[in-house]
Symmetry: C2
Subunit: 349 residues, 2 copies
Amino acid sequence: MYPTKIRFILGSSLDKAGQGRCIPEESIGRQMKKQHYDFGLVGLGVMGRNFILNVADNNFAAAGLDVSQEQVDTLIAEGGNPDRVNATTQASEFVSSLKQPRRIMMLVPAGKIVDQVIANLLPLLRPGDLLIDGGNSYYTDTDRREAELKEKGILYLGAGVSGGAEGARKGPSIMPGGSPEAYPLIQPVFEAAAAKFEGEPCVAYMGKKSAGNYVKMVHNGIEYALMQMLTEMYDLMKKSSNATNLEMSERFSEWNTGRLQSFLVEITADILQQKDPLEEGFLIDRILDKAKQKGTGKWTSQNAMDLGIPVPTIDMAVTMRGLSGLKALREELMPNTTALSPKISIKRT
Amino acid sequence: MYPTKIRFILGSSLDKAGQGRCIPEESIGRQMKKQHYDFGLVGLGVMGRNFILNVADNNFAAAGLDVSQEQVDTLIAEGGNPDRVNATTQASEFVSSLKQPRRIMMLVPAGKIVDQVIANLLPLLRPGDLLIDGGNSYYTDTDRREAELKEKGILYLGAGVSGGAEGARKGPSIMPGGSPEAYPLIQPVFEAAAAKFEGEPCVAYMGKKSAGNYVKMVHNGIEYALMQMLTEMYDLMKKSSNATNLEMSERFSEWNTGRLQSFLVEITADILQQKDPLEEGFLIDRILDKAKQKGTGKWTSQNAMDLGIPVPTIDMAVTMRGLSGLKALREELMPNTTALSPKISIKRT
């Protein structure tokens, strides 16, 4: 998302040659107390901001780091009390503000940015400090990073976080994996912040190395398949019986009271009721039928193929997202799509 | 297949410390003329033996190398004239027997064995010599090998060979890729040995680096899909109308006279007629319903997913081979499979 910026700003704060430069007081932000915060979070987008506020609600003083002064200001304003939640754009100030051993979680886009953030933080860390990647990193990247950091005495966890922005704020499901000696350092924070199911926190140590990222990857693959099934239900009801959005919403709501009860069925019912805020009609009818895929579902299919484990429903979900993305080609090949709609009638009960 | 043996025998022939050992005369094989042969082939299994005999039929003197004295003897016997086709188990004798620049093709199992053969031949080669990998190597392996060999002045091609053992003997389809300056060195040999379609040889330079292996990979992926379709046709006819093997064979033969004419449809008709050589009945009814997959179809699906190109028929073919392999699990979950057979009737025309 912002690789150049993050490198520049984090990089400049670590630049020894630049330490003597005259930095205007106002650009440094509010001065943070040293060794005061229990938990640090890098990347204050919606997910990161919500997760850090969640941690702070559970009585862990939390510090944030982001390249954007605006994101920093938003968090400080929402946090209310800087002793409880504070943030900065300066990596050195951020790291100094944390109690030792430091517990720092990254919620930044997977890929090169994770490596850049690690490279920028590393000179500021001490052996025994803990770094956690909360993003959807590919599992072999986590294996590599954990091995590299182990040599420098830094503990590392790859921890999948599920539940979206709302989950991050109110209680996500967390899937940490990595050094067995690392997990106890963050366990109280994760158990407090996680969703609770029948009183139990939705977090557990998944295993060594990248086990956490791997479990999250498969979890996302299953979600791909469930979402594909929901869209097929929608398509079938709409094309076969000309059901209205409200009728379909009602059907999903009904399913959500029985064995099919789940978050995805629940929000599908809600989505179908959503009015278009800009004009007459329903939002669902204005949504472009063109989906993207971020990688975890695809990785699940690819890994299952390597293991010889058939996951045809996930395979098809990945393929259908691919087909969905090729909208221009689909329209070229099927100029009159309605003529191809299935003529099936299903009996309403 | 035989990594330890191939390393030992090729390795020992290159082992400087071993050069002084007393090797019994008969184990060296017939002495080969130096700088006499136009083409060298490593790996004298059925594919390799057939390909080298094909090359020799086209008036290129050809030398073979294999770890097995038996394979060497078989080739020499089949070749008839050692000036035309000869072979050895000794890498140094093999390399010395080739005209310079040497043109050597490997037909060995993909993976580490290719690297071992290259490592063993390399000290015997000169800059300007050409190595060709005729196996189904993964394309990134070919990219790596080509780059490594380029530094040492050795030309490299990855050339997919299609048509099985019979194709190798009578005329395969060949898909070479790699250094543009490498292809002209082997072009006359490949054009002579390849299958002909309307007089044109079924071989062309596919592009730089691993383009040849990549095209062969996709070619095999398409073949996976076609084979899956044929098995589904068979299953549908058998379960829905209790068609006999001969009735099904007749149907495939009929299809093979029209737009569906192809090698795979043709051999399906033949397979269905094949009697069991050991007992009463047809061979097809004795074949274990458990397929393996060698990788190229799987790689096609995985690469298509990376490129966002939907290939659902290939995906399902890969998945069905995976399901097929899990025979014990299938039987456990479906103890009475016949009860689940579809009850569909199709109209015979």
